[in-house]
Subunit: 160 residues, 2 copies
DNA sequence: GTTTTTGCAAATGATTTGCATGGAT
DNA sequence: ATCCATGCAAATCATTTGCAAAAAC
């Protein structure tokens, strides 16, 4: 019912040279209201207001908002991707392996995870940490600027 | 060429009441030899020895080995799942966003990620931390033993 | 009015499943 | 001889893509 949004989505869309559509605003409102929701779930709720909205459009919108940095995407194992609007900081997540519930964990210092997650009520059994960045070769290739031949390396390992 | 394995896969399979097949041994040998490989890549290499081996079988084998805890599964964003045989410890991973190369990061103390990843050569830009465990409700439900009605909760959030 | 977005349908990629045969114990 | 594991085909699930119609600027 309430379309109370904390952030000025309309303004942010303008800033990013995106058109302000009711679909986008609806998706953003739902993601803000229900953090850690899947595209499917977001579509379902948004459709209460916009019955014509399709899941595919939600995917397109979310992908775009994600590349703009307006939403953050979490990909827990054995679950579709989940989305949230809290993007500025580097907080982490605790996922319940029983029910799938996701909790924010406020313990980050910059981009580095803290030693002990202090703000969760879950009994943590596993910590999956994935650092992302550039390896030496790719950093070198990047500073060499220009898109030269894609750097490749031996052995059967996959991309990205 | 070399089928030199470090671990006694045959023994471990026996321990877990699994039949020792050349397919399983081949998959395990490949995962051990090329850590952080995808199911597809593993199948490709294993097929050099066992041309009849299908990707689907590799998936089945890996899924089983994973539930047994004999292999660990990593799921980087925008990549199929990767597998490795290093399972005993709680090391982490650094993924290059340029080429997809995966590096082990030895910095864990128990199940808790360390403050600074010391053993990587990558320039880390993002730390995705996902703690997994049981939330209060699920822990309570678990101690109440028996599989009662599946605990559910409101709002559109997904499972597992 | 022009260009971006949406809606719809179909395609894709990763992974799972059902079932009959082959193989390990 | 029994029962599990593999091979094959088809199904499923999450997500992406192509294109024409609709909406925003």
């Amino acid at each position: 019912m309430s379309t109370t949004t904390t952030r000025d989505w309309e303004g942010e869309l303008h800033t990013h040279a995106r058109r302000v559509t009711k679909q986008r605003l609806a998706v953003l409102a739902v993601v803000e209201r229900f953090p850690h929701s899947s595209a499917e779930a977001i579509a379902k709720v948004a459709r209460e207001t916009l019955p014509a909205l399709t899941v595919q459009s939600v995917y397109v919108v979310l992908a775009d908002l994600h590349t703009l940095g307006m939403v953050r995407r979490i990909e827990p194992p054995d679950s579709p991707a989940l989305y949230e609007t809290r993007t500025g900081d580097n907080h982490h997540h605790a996922v319940c392996t029983g029910c799938g519930r996701v909790e924010d964990v406020d313990c980050a210092v910059g981009h580095t995870p803290c030693l002990t997650p202090s703000s969760t009520t879950m009994t943590i059994r596993i910590a999956d940490v994935l650092y992302r960045g550039l390896c030496r070769d790719c950093e070198a290739a990047q500073s060499t600027e220009a898109t030269l031949a894609t750097p490749n390396f031996p052995s059967p390992t996959n991309q990205r």
